[in-house]
Amino acid sequence: MENNLIVSVSPHIKTKDSYIKIMWSVVLALLPAGIAGVFIFGLSALKVIVISLITALLTEAIIQKLRHKRITIFDGSCFITGLLLAYNLPPSVPWWLPSVGSFFAIAIVKQAFGGLGYNIFNPALAGRAFLLASWPLHMTRWTPPHWTTDAVSSATPLAILKHNLSDAVSGATLIGIVREREFSHTLSFYGKLFLGDRAGCIGEVCILAILLGAVFLLYKGYIRWYTPFSFIFTVGFLSWVFLGKGLFKGDWLFYILTGGLFLGAFFMATDYVTTPLTKKGQIIFGLGCGILTFLIRKFSGYPEGVSYSILMMNAATPIIDRYTKPKKFGIIKQKQ
């Protein structure tokens, strides 16, 4: 019997919350947004999700095999990457696009840096950035929800606003939506945005579904509110101040409900690996993301900036970590 005794350093008991359980919980939390996406955009969205997932799993397995590592494709982490990449694509992209993006995300952004825990950038977002840079046309060709009739071409609400698109270029419905907003702040308008009745990426449109998943993760303690809150708050605040006709007149609700803000804030800015370690750091991370998103939306050529802002803040994570160390126990101001 004595030969079978394990001798190791304390502690000898461990929590049952393993990372595999956490990862699969995140996958579970992501499902509502995907289901909503398929419901809104039809089966083409499902096709994108499935192709992205399968490519992610295969890429991870092949690379781990080549690196003579244990194959860990079922730990859930590359499921998350596959799902998130698909969620960040328009529903009507050609079939090979999610495949290329997923491959890039797993092979270059994750595995080339050493696999789980060692990547600097969020794989799904870096994959999306790669696709956007390489095939900008495919990446900005939007489809409206499948129940609208004018399926010729469409644009996201943010793009319509940014480029002042005329009816000829963009879907009439969306122009209608934005115009409606300008004239009357009706509940039904925000309700449409909240439920996802607009053009956009597969997983970003239905805020309700995203919040469902987010509340589950917050309840389980797998993500903290610090980053999402400071991110969304900053975007909302800056939009309110600067994006209206005159200071403090911006339609902040419109700006936080459109684009990929909720998806990014709750599922990508909370990624453990690529964000700061401490609470203070995470709040700063969210603030930075918010400011960058605002700057991109206002001043750059892109209508949307959530994914770039998170990627840029990913790069800033080590330096945030360096300056946000917790104050250790036992350092007190000496009273005279």
């Binding site: 019997m1 004595e2 079978n4 005794l5 394990i6 001798v7 190791s8 350093v9 304390s10 502690p11 000898h12 008991i13 461990k14 929590t15 049952k16 919350d17 393993s18 990372y19 359980k21 956490i22 050493g114 696999g115 789980l116 825990g117 060692y118 453990y272 690996v273 690529t274 964000t275 700061p276 370690l277 401490t278 609470k279 995470q282 970590d321 160390k325 917790p326 104050k327 250790k328 126990f329 036992g330 350092i331 007190i332």
Partner: protein
């Protein structure tokens, strides 16, 4: 009775106290053989005062040192010294030890018994020193040294938190010997004359809290000794955390409790002081918890120091299943053993026989930077960063993360979702990170 400031961090592991919480203290009959290690404390090792073949009486001093920071050892069995040689030690691995074989029962009062009310603090300290009393919470620092602080003590705390999972020996002793423990506490009060006295206990020990309340009332100590009921949270019983929770003071980094005018004593230490002063009995037995799902009979047992684990296993009726780990102390800070031939020492608060299921053992994985270890760290350092640096042997960058402030409570390793051995990396960092 009130709740005070919490310490930050901490975890809520399953306590498993229900396994032994209601088991009254039972005495394990003296074994045929005991092995008394000559080092059972922090400080100078003892030299044997007896030779092999010599007859010894129960309670006879058999090892001592001329160093001030040291503590003598006593025979826990009447009989014959069979030999003196190096033997397994639960903490140090190996240490010189005195082997005693059981013979005719005989007892000697190693300490002359006097009326405790008339004794001066110095005389009391002498008795505590002669009785071989060390901190029985586990660290084993000689108590007479701890009771001679270089700075005046304002606050005395009796540590009845017992925050380690599984362990219930302090709790049972509080239920069964409350007045003795309080008398021991009064002796400590007499020695250091503090202005305020607290008794810190976790709120999961309802029976003990009730009994203590009544005893305090019966002894007329309610105004003198304030009972503080603390939230059940690990490591609530850690010395610095307990002080923070009760007084709101933070022991400075690198400092000791007396730096903020506080002294903490463990329940069993107070009981040992009572026995030494009132009964003239040196420390040759103590109460331990035997628990874990692999052992047949679990409970709280009074055992002689030097009893081998194999004897205790036999008394407890053997194993239900083969244990995967045998631990001296609690599961969070205890020390894993590789053999059953290990003696109980003064600082042993429990022996756990853990099954595979309880261990929940998995291979460690990569750090996913979730930051949970930082959230739960009561010392507020960054275990993840220390471990990452340690993984690449970059010990030169480790000091900025303050590994020396780690109290090795194990909360970080417990919570780590990829099962990283964070405590191990921090222990290495303490050694190399300079």
């Amino acid at each position: 009775m009130f709740l005070r400031n919490k310490f930050s961090g901490g975890i809520h592991p399953p306590t498993y106290k229900e396994l032994t919480q209601n088991c009254p203290i039972e005495e394990i009959p003296p074994p045929q053989k005991v092995v008394i290690p000559l080092i059972q404390h922090i400080g100078g090792p003892c030299l044997p005062l007896v030779k092999s073949g010599e007859e010894v009486k129960l309670g006879q001093k058999i090892g001592s040192s001329d160093k001030y920071i040291s503590s003598p050892v006593h025979a826990s069995l009447a009989g014959k010294v069979s030999h003196i040689e190096d033997f397994n030690h639960p903490v140090l691995g190996k240490s010189p030890a005195i082997f005693i074989e059981r013979g005719q029962d005989s007892y000697t009062n190693a300490i002359s018994q006097k009326d405790p009310t008339g004794l001066s603090p110095e005389e009391l300290k002498k008795i505590i020193q002669e009785a071989g009393i060390v901190g029985l919470g586990g660290a084993g620092f000689p108590t007479h040294v701890k009771l001679s602080p270089p700075k005046p003590i304002e606050v005395l705390i009796l540590n009845a938190a017992e925050c380690e999972p599984y362990l219930t020996c302090d709790e049972r002793l509080l239920c069964e010997k409350p007045s003795e423990i309080l008398k021991g506490l009064e002796i400590i009060i007499k020695i250091i004359s503090p202005q305020e006295i607290f008794l810190g206990i976790e709120d999961n020990k309802e029976e003990a809290i009730g009994i203590l309340k009544n005893t305090l009332q019966a002894m007329g100590l309610t105004n003198k000794i304030k009972m503080v009921i603390l939230k059940t949270k690990y490591p609530q019983g850690g010395e610095k955390q307990l002080i923070k929770a009760i007084t709101g003071k933070e022991v400075p980094s690198g400092g000791l409790p007396f730096d903020v005018g506080v002294l903490v004593q463990n329940v069993q230490t107070a009981f040992a002081i009572y026995e030494a002063v009132y009964k003239g009995k040196p420390l040759y037995e103590r109460v331990i918890t035997v628990s874990g799902k692999a052992i047949k009979k679990r409970g709280n047992f009074k055992v002689r120091i030097g009893t081998l684990v194999s004897e205790i296993v036999e008394f407890c009726g053997g194993f239900i299943e083969n244990p995967k780990k045998i631990i001296f102390g609690g599961p969070m800070m205890g020390i894993a053993q590789w053999s059953l031939e290990v003696p109980v020492i003064k600082g042993t608060s429990g022996i756990l026989f853990l099954s595979e299921e309880e261990l929940n053992f998995e291979e460690p994985g990569p750090c996913i930077r979730c930051g949970r270890c930082i959230e739960v760290c009561p010392a507020k350092i960054m275990p993840a960063s220390i471990a990452l640096a340690g993984e690449y042997k970059r010990w030169n960058i480790v000091p900025q993360y303050h590994p020396l402030d780690c109290i090795e409570c194990g909360a970080c390793s417990y919570i780590c979702p990829t099962r990283r051995d964070l405590v191990q990396f921090i222990k290495l960092a303490k050694q190399y990170g300079k």
